[in-house]
Amino acid sequence: MKRPLAEEILGEWGVRDVTPPSQRERERVEADLELNPLVGRAIKRRLRNFKPEADTYVASLGGPLPYMQRLRAIDTETEVHLERLRAAYAENGGDPDRWRRLAETWNFVEVNDLIDKHNRWYPIEARLPMNPRSRDFVQVGGRPYRRRPLDARWVLEHFPA
């Protein structure tokens, strides 16, 4: 099939001057070629039915936003604790009383401080949408945005005595 014919069939074609109105339209388009600044430039065809958001603008300028960095830090810290707990469990898991005592005295201050900050400021910083019925924030990935602070119970859930 010849390319012009294919273009015509697929509709990738200009105005066809087969009727008087379409002839007038072609004349108007040709007159516009002299004034239109887009002449000779490819026009992107992606339709965006939304406005550019300020947070995406900021993210594009400076990388991850503070709440994103904090969430990453919480995940990393939690992983580190899990690793250390795994090693400690291998050593002390055989003695339930000793393991419970160790779980209760495990130091989660730093990660819990991050979790507290996340629970307080994440909805503001991320402009988390609200549900007008519940008057609370929507769930993130099917779960509430709030993170549970790490404590002895959390340790014993992962590594039972």
Binding site: R48, K51, V58, W121, P123, R127, P132, F137
Partner: protein, 198 residues
């Protein structure tokens, strides 16, 4: 090149240097403004239509919230900000009350007086919109400060207008609800998402 020309050129360099500095400061301010606006909820966020609850606990969290509201208000170059504008449904707002300085008002009760006056108003949650709004020129505010102590303020002019604007936010009322029908229609036209060909 004559001495005069040289001086002149030197002066031009200085002038250009100042211009660059000014441009840099301007760009920094603009970046801060956008950073702040990224945390302020924009129309049609449903939080802007929800009424806030009375504050009952005057704790560390409230103090931090007020600090954050103040910083956001300054960075966004506004004269007032309500907690509902950041998605916190508590009856708190901050205003830059001119001679009275920065004020954080918790559980405010407003008594509006003075001749009603119509002025153009904008809102940090309605970026491009400015509409005429009729407000009383004086306002008396009773409420509490972030520590829970009672406060009493008497404001006039722009500060009075800002306080009424922020108090409206706490009840889910926006300037587009207080303007005339024609301005409202025009504002809603600006706020409607536009298809953009990119």
């Amino acid at each position: 090149m004559s001495e005069h020309d040289h001086d002149h050129e030197h002066h031009d360099h200085d002038h250009e240097g100042h211009d660059h500095e000014h441009d840099h400061e301007e760009a920094e301010r603009e970046q801060l403004r956008r950073h702040a606006l990224a945390q302020i909820r924009q129309y049609p966020d449903v939080a802007l239509r929800m009424s806030a609850r009375e504050v009952t606990e005057f704790d560390d969290y409230l103090a931090q919230l007020v600090e954050r509201l103040e910083a956001l208000m300054h960075d966004a170059q506004g004269v007032g900000l309500a907690a509902t504008q950041v998605g916190v449904l508590q009856r708190v707002f901050v205003i830059d009350a001119g001679e009275e300085g920065f004020q954080a008002i918790v559980n405010p009760r407003l008594e509006i007086s003075g001749e009603p006056e119509t002025e153009e108003e904008g809102c940090l949650s309605l970026w491009e919109v400015r509409v005429p709004v009729e407000r009383g020129t004086k306002v008396t505010i009773d409420g509490q400060d972030p520590t829970g102590a009672d406060i009493h303020l008497e404001l006039e002019g722009l500060s009075a207008r800002a306080a009424q604007h922020e108090a409206d936010h706490l009840d889910g009322v926006l300037i587009i609800d207080r303007t005339d029908p024609e301005s409202r229609k025009e504002a809603l036209g600006k706020l409607r998402p536009q298809p953009l060909l990119r």
